[in-house]
Subunit: 547 residues, 2 copies
């Protein structure tokens, strides 16, 4: 039955618990509907027949519209307003208080933007993606540039509304300070701090200032490390991972590993899609996909382990607060930390291959892979951990990857804050590529046109990939300190020990804290620290490349 | 953007076309949302991991609630009220007029029932299904009876509201006449005509009186035909369809046939599920499922062809009116006619097996099926067309099947109209089973507890199975008259000729007409005719059993 709107007088006579319960019911129903959207998207990538594409877009549109209606319902607003008048610390436990905080945050963020502006952005997305795809194909940046201009314009408007609406306090402060120091009057254009606002759409509560510091450190340390590796001009034998590997057998191996790591197939599915992802409608229904290429063994294995890491985060969410925001992942960076921790700290490690190589050999016993049979875990580890600076971010190894991200961060920040123009991007991109990785970009297809993010208005998203890497190293270090003999467990394939620790210390913590940095501080006693990441890479690759 | 409610004065100044367009937009959006429900249900049966069951129920609940809200929106009511004041035959073509008629019908049917009553029915369903499952397992009718009582009570209330609300004119007339002839006063209980109302939930516009006539004819003719076949005590050799048939090979064969018949895999999928069905979110996204049993070859083949028939109806819907009710299937009986036409008139025919047997032999060349290789189409046809009276409806052949349905029809009609009690069902069931099929039911598990329909309040549904059989025979007869050399086409595997004819004459007609009988009359020049069905069965089985 439709709950009729109550007057604020009526609400004020209700108990705090009753207000909370009403909020929870509404937010859970919204969550179910968002889950339905998740299933539609998964199905679209994995199952849907091609002729259904237009219909699916309509279905997604209708569901998104209903989600927006539910998320901005005035009743929700009244309940939130009333509950915040109560003594929250007396009435509610920390998880419940986090729910109230997060419900309020979502409500304000959803209501602060004019619907027309949101629709304008959504309409631009599909046009911009088409233009970008064509531009990339022809390596013709000019075809994409006008759409990026429009995105920047819309994004600036959105941030403007958010700052005005009081949902971006950090960005507001930066902007105010800049205005003051530049002596600007009201009405004068100034986009300082706007990147901070966009960053927080993906990495809640994280400060751009901290990010700057982390990225500057990384750049300072990784550029020389990469140069050193390059100068060594050495390559370990990797002939045994070359050749054709039957994709069915690859999938069997990867599925086995995913399940041994702890993916619960009673609460999720593993399928194949063109672009691997982890999605689906609920923590009890996690849909993870991967892809296998016949002549690229490493992609299928590391890709599956990566998505398994994401899936464990989802499947490990706090069921006590199921359907409520405190059980949700804290940020994209923390989510990525879970995939990267399993992919890199485990899946690219010596202990892991000491365990898994025998299984891989068992799986590929045919004569064409005879050379695999005599390989040692050490040799396999060396072959699986190669550093090769390249143009393409998604093909990058863990040493060069951060520089791909830093390059994008520097450009997109300067762009949104008005320090560079859209037209300047290709030349700036290429200069940075030369500086950071020593590469000459010959075509924009291999340069600033390679990623789809900017075409769908994702600015502020890229840093989360590298935040994820740093989180992963720091979290894994904490895990090693907390779990006696973790390496020995991994050597025996006893992954549950690590999974359990992550379940308790990361997954179940959900969005209890306000930022990834708060989570890391509580867990390790120190802020997110790029030195640990540099140390990890330096030690690892000094050994591999005998630097 | 939310369309704000308009006043009736505002609406009265709008053109008929504008009103129609607003209706169409709303109804299409509702259709997308219903399609989402279709995908959720398909996924639940085919893909969903087990732990997601409770969450899926919540997702379906939320989507159903939103569908109900959209379907009963007052704006829809105002638009419908206003448009019906216009000169429809001047302003709109017959398809558009059918849309207006059907939108109005749905709106009235959705709004006439109190929401509490609908929820009471839905809540009863899950409890009743559990009770039924337990009762069936233990063959203990008493455990299920109280739930059936409650269903009857709720269904009678629903029909009462519908008659009062003017959406069941035929039922109202029957009831009024009965009341008059019995000399009842207002307030006196009388449920005559109530079956008519329930029947029309599944077989729109069909008269119970006509159904009675058809079923009486069938009973009169089929009971002696079955007795004659039974007395013959003869069985054709079917050893070559016994044994174990690899399910993967069965699936390959069935998929090939489905695609040759015309299932468009670019606009649908074929998967496996425990209970075969055709569903999915849209005519451009038809999800059909089937099942294969290693030692029951016939089930997988006929089952796949059956679902292909349903799928062709869906995929063949009129795309010019996509998303609008005129493009929808006319009734469950007509839908079933399309599955049965392909399953029985084609898939169980000599011409079909003259074509398909060679493919089947190719598929099963292993030594264990050596005896299949020398079989002739005639022998195969005889083996595939056996008549065996049995207890279970879903395992019944085409000769005995109608009696299973007639038995249920007679019982459920007498029950809802108050002529028998719930407690009397088992004894009446068993007596009829003896009379119609000569069988002694020893356990209710094999008798009145075998079907799930009554447990979910489906009364009035069973007749559509047999209406489908009769429609199928009559439609196929028309096709044969219209398509020169149809049998020869089938012998060559040229199924597209028949598919095209059905596309034009049935599928694209959608819900343009008000009943299946109207469709049949326009197509064949005569009402639905059980004599044709009896004639078909008599001729076919007289030949097979040499009667």
């Amino acid at each position: 039955m439709t709950v009729l709107a109550k007057t604020s007088a009526e609400l004020s006579s209700e108990s705090a618990r009753s207000l909370y319960d009403q909020l929870a019911t509404r937010v859970k129903d919204l969550g179910y509907l968002q889950g339905v959207g998740g299933l539609l998207s998964w199905d679209q990538e994995v199952m849907m027949p091609p002729k259904a594409a237009d219909i699916r877009a309509e279905q997604l549109r209708v569901v998104a519209g209903l989600c927006h209606e539910a998320a901005t319902s005035p009743i929700l607003g009244s309940l939130l307003e009333e509950i915040q008048k109560r003594d929250l610390s007396k009435e509610f436990n920390p998880y419940e208080r986090a729910n109230i905080r997060l419900m309020n945050k979502s409500y304000r963020e959803e209501t602060v933007l004019p619907k027309e502006l949101v629709q304008e952005g959504a309409a631009l997305n599909s046009k911009a993606v088409n233009a970008w795809a064509e531009a990339r194909k022809e390596s013709n940046y000019a075809k994409f540039a006008p759409f990026l201009e429009q995105h920047i314009k819309i994004l600036r408007q959105k941030v403007g509304y958010k700052i005005q609406g009081g949902v971006c306090e950090e960005a507001r402060k930066i902007n105010e300070k800049a205005r003051a120091s530049l002596g600007l009057k009201e009405g004068d254009e100034c986009y300082k701090g706007y990147y901070q606002a966009l960053l927080n759409d993906y990495e809640s509560g994280f400060k751009d200032e901290q990010l700057q510091g982390l990225f500057a450190d990384l750049k300072q340390n990784l550029v020389p490390l990469i140069a050193k590796i390059k100068a060594k001009n050495f390559q370990h034998d990797d002939s045994f991972i070359q050749g054709n590997f039957d994709v069915k057998k690859q999938a069997e191996f990867s599925h086995r590993i995913a399940k041994e790591i702890g993916f619960d197939t009673d609460a999720g599915r593993l399928d194949v899609s063109t672009h691997p992802f982890t999605g689906g409608p609920d923590p009890l229904d996690v849909r993870m996909t991967t892809r296998y290429t016949v002549d690229y063994l490493q992609e299928g294995i590391t890709g599956t382990i990566h998505e398994t890491g994401h899936s464990l985060y989802e499947q490990g969410r706090n069921q006590e607060y199921a359907g409520l925001p405190v059980s949700q992942a804290l940020s994209l960076g923390v989510h990525e930390s879970q995939s990267l921790l399993w992919e890199r700290m485990v899946g690219l490690s010596k202990p892991f291959w000491t365990y898994a190589l025998a299984l891989l050999k068992e799986q590929f016993q045919d004569p064409s892979h005879e050379n695999l049979q005599s390989v040692t875990p050490e040799q396999f580890y060396n072959a699986f951990n190669q550093v090769k600076p390249g143009f393409i971010r998604i093909e990058a190894d863990e040493v060069t990857y951060p520089l791909h991200v830093i390059l994008r961060y520097e450009i997109e920040k300067a762009l949104i804050e008005g320090d560079i123009t859209v037209a300047e991007i290709p030349s700036i991109w290429n200069a940075k590529m030369k500086e950071y990785l020593g590469l000459d970009v010959t075509e924009d297809r291999l340069g600033c046109l390679q990623d789809t993010h900017w075409a769908v208005g994702l600015i502020g998203y890229f840093p989360t990939y590298t935040l994820g890497s740093i989180y992963a190293v720091q979290i894994f270090k904490a895990a090693k300190e907390a779990i006696p003999g973790l390496d020995e467990h991994l050597v025996k394939g006893e992954f549950h020990v690590l999974k359990k620790w992550l379940n308790e210390n990361i997954h179940k913590q959900g969005s209890l804290r306000e930022s990834g940095d708060d989570l890391i501080k509580d867990l390790t006693g120190r802020s997110l620290d790029s030195n640990l990441y540099v140390e990890y890479l330096t030690n690892k690759y000094t050994a591999i490349y005998d630097l």
